[in-house]
Symmetry: C2
Subunit: 362 residues, 2 copies
């Protein structure tokens, strides 16, 4: 950490690996000896072909994807996917099952309903303010897919195991935990993630979709809203978000070459979260908001004894160079978002601050 940089616990856009930022900075006026910035290079050039192909190849290698999977880059964030999924994958006679675990799941459900699609909310944790992940869910046998949010950024919960759907393909919004641990894609027909948490800057959404899902998709849609437009043109039917894809490629390279791949990064993420949860569990001053066996390794949500103390905590932390600790405006409290790029050093800095704040205010 340089003396000018803070410990960044933002929920998204979030911290990026410092070596990635440094590489972008160093080559910003002259990308790979092209004499141009990455932002000035044609997406039809061999320079950019190499970038996008490398990002796709690394994704497939890291997540062990076989040839059935297409890796696409689409604009509009996960929110655009909330609409594109039912538009593409639900025909008039199809139905789909949705699991509701918080704000983002609720939005995905709302968009499918807005489109007049037939969906069934088969499980919800709304009864306890979304503080847990539902278990033992019964699915509708004929459902085309099961939609879920793998990690709930706002409520601080996460699926540790994915439900047994009896073979119905799962579609998962993994915006806040993609590439944080190995992924067994066998259960999934599609996975998608807005880049701005674990992957890169905002403005690019990674979509991984299995061939059989693509093959059954509706084709009578506007070009930019059809998955086949992206899969048939390597995400370059029109000009893609080049800077975003470039940054994603560098982050994936960092995961592979600096962090040692998916298993290593999972270990690191578990260690980081443990440091924080251990302190919270041992304390009577801080309390975790999520049910213990559902809590997120990415977004650690906690409360202090009063709202006044929470305000003071966030303010004082900011003064100490610890940023982004305020909970989401819809739920209050505090939240430390500790995605892949958060370092163990930042965890120790946070824990040290939390301990001294507790002593002073108990």
């Amino acid at each position: 950490m340089t003396d000018q940089r803070i410990y960044n616990f933002n929920a998204g856009p979030a911290a990026l690996p410092l070596p990635v930022l440094e590489e972008i900075q160093a080559s910003f006026l002259n990308f790979k000896n092209s004499g141009m910035s990455i932002t000035e290079i044609s997406h039809r050039s061999s320079y950019f072909d190499e970038v996008i192909n490398d990002a796709v190849t690394r994704t497939k290698r890291l997540l062990k994807l076989d040839d059935r999977y297409h890796v696409l880059f689409i604009q509009g964030g996960a929110s655009m996917q909330f609409a594109m999924i039912p538009m593409n994958l639900l025909s008039p006679n199809d139905t789909a099952d949705y699991i509701n675990t918080g704000t983002w799941s609720t939005k995905a459900i709302k968009e499918a309903q807005l489109l007049g699609k037939s969906i069934d909310v088969v499980a919800s944790s709304e009864d306890k303010n979304f503080s847990y992940i539902p278990k033992d869910i019964s699915f509708n046998k004929g459902a085309k897919f099961v939609h879920l949010t793998s990690n709930n950024t706002i409520k601080g919960t996460q699926f540790y195991e994915f439900p047994d759907t009896g073979g119905i393909p799962i579609i998962a919004d993994m915006s806040s935990d993609i590439f944080s641990k190995p992924l067994d894609m066998e259960k999934f027909g599609m996975v998608y993630a807005g880049a701005q948490k674990n992957l890169g800057p905002s403005g690019t959404c990674m979509v991984i979709i299995r061939k059989d899902m693509l093959d059954s998709a509706n084709e009578d849609l506007p070009s930019m809203l059809k998955y086949s437009t992206y899969s048939s043109k390597n995400s370059m039917y029109n000009t893609p978000p080049c800077f975003g894809i470039y940054t994603i490629d560098l982050v994936l390279k960092w995961i592979e070459e600096e962090m040692g791949g998916m298993k290593k990064i999972e270990e690191y993420n578990v260690q980081k979260a443990d440091v924080l949860y251990d302190l919270i569990d041992a304390s009577s001053f801080y309390s975790a908001t999520a049910e213990k066996y559902s809590r997120s390794l990415m977004n650690v949500t906690f409360r202090l004894p009063s709202e006044k103390l929470e305000q003071d905590f966030v303010e004082r932390a900011t003064q100490h160079g610890l940023g982004g600790l305020k909970g989401h405006r819809s739920v209050g409290g505090c939240r430390a978002s500790i995605y892949n790029a958060a370092t163990m050093e930042s965890m120790y800095a946070l824990v040290e601050f939390m301990e001294s704040f507790e002593k002073e205010n108990k």
Copy 2:
């Protein structure tokens, strides 16, 4: 120009002003003393509020927009607008007039037709391979809007004057000439532009829309495809493409503070194009492809006596540090894209090279 940078004549993504790139580079690890990169900052922070509000304010000031106009930032490029325009602005009983001046107009027409909307192509220059801008067009009295492409990147033509539509609002795709000259918005209900030519990196589309168009728009659409979602939330219903909006803001600041505003930049653009067209008009070796009174100040398209010479020309130019001179793959020939960020220095370098290439190969 530094010794590492080339003269960049790419059609898009295209050259950006060097001072803008330098400012991004210098502050890339620490934006405005936040201790974070611009790519790591929350879009809900005061840091980003300042960026997006400054971009909107500068747009309004530069284009002299009154309070009726909303400035929005939407993802998906102009191609997404080809669908969003008819989805939002054409109800079942509405019709719209489209002018076809090339590849992009054709795509806009196709998307409206795909959606089953009632549109009429009231003029086309397809009879002469889109080498001119149609004149004396008759419009349908009840049309909801007239759609046109103000500058045709691929064919090298540009509207100098916009048609008299008898009060029907014009919707213009200005992706390749927005902010290249002053704009009289009185004729327009909406103007839009993918950023990657005159404005910033790819992945952000600027949409300027008049209140009465917004007020009459369809509301039963997916959230991310409705203009009102963007206008009611200052383009931040979900995470916007922050890096793109930031770069656009810096480009607008550069236009205002370094280049002296819209009139000055228009003068500069006219001078730059004149240098090139003067050489082409005086030469029997180079020939312009667009009709003289329709030709573009942004994309200068020209041919050499043979395809072999054109290939040699592009190759040799690249070796001389002049990049991006190959014509669009759909039409061949040569093209110099000279948007706002192209310098007079780059024009002189190109003209010098063209003169010596002509001498050697005549």
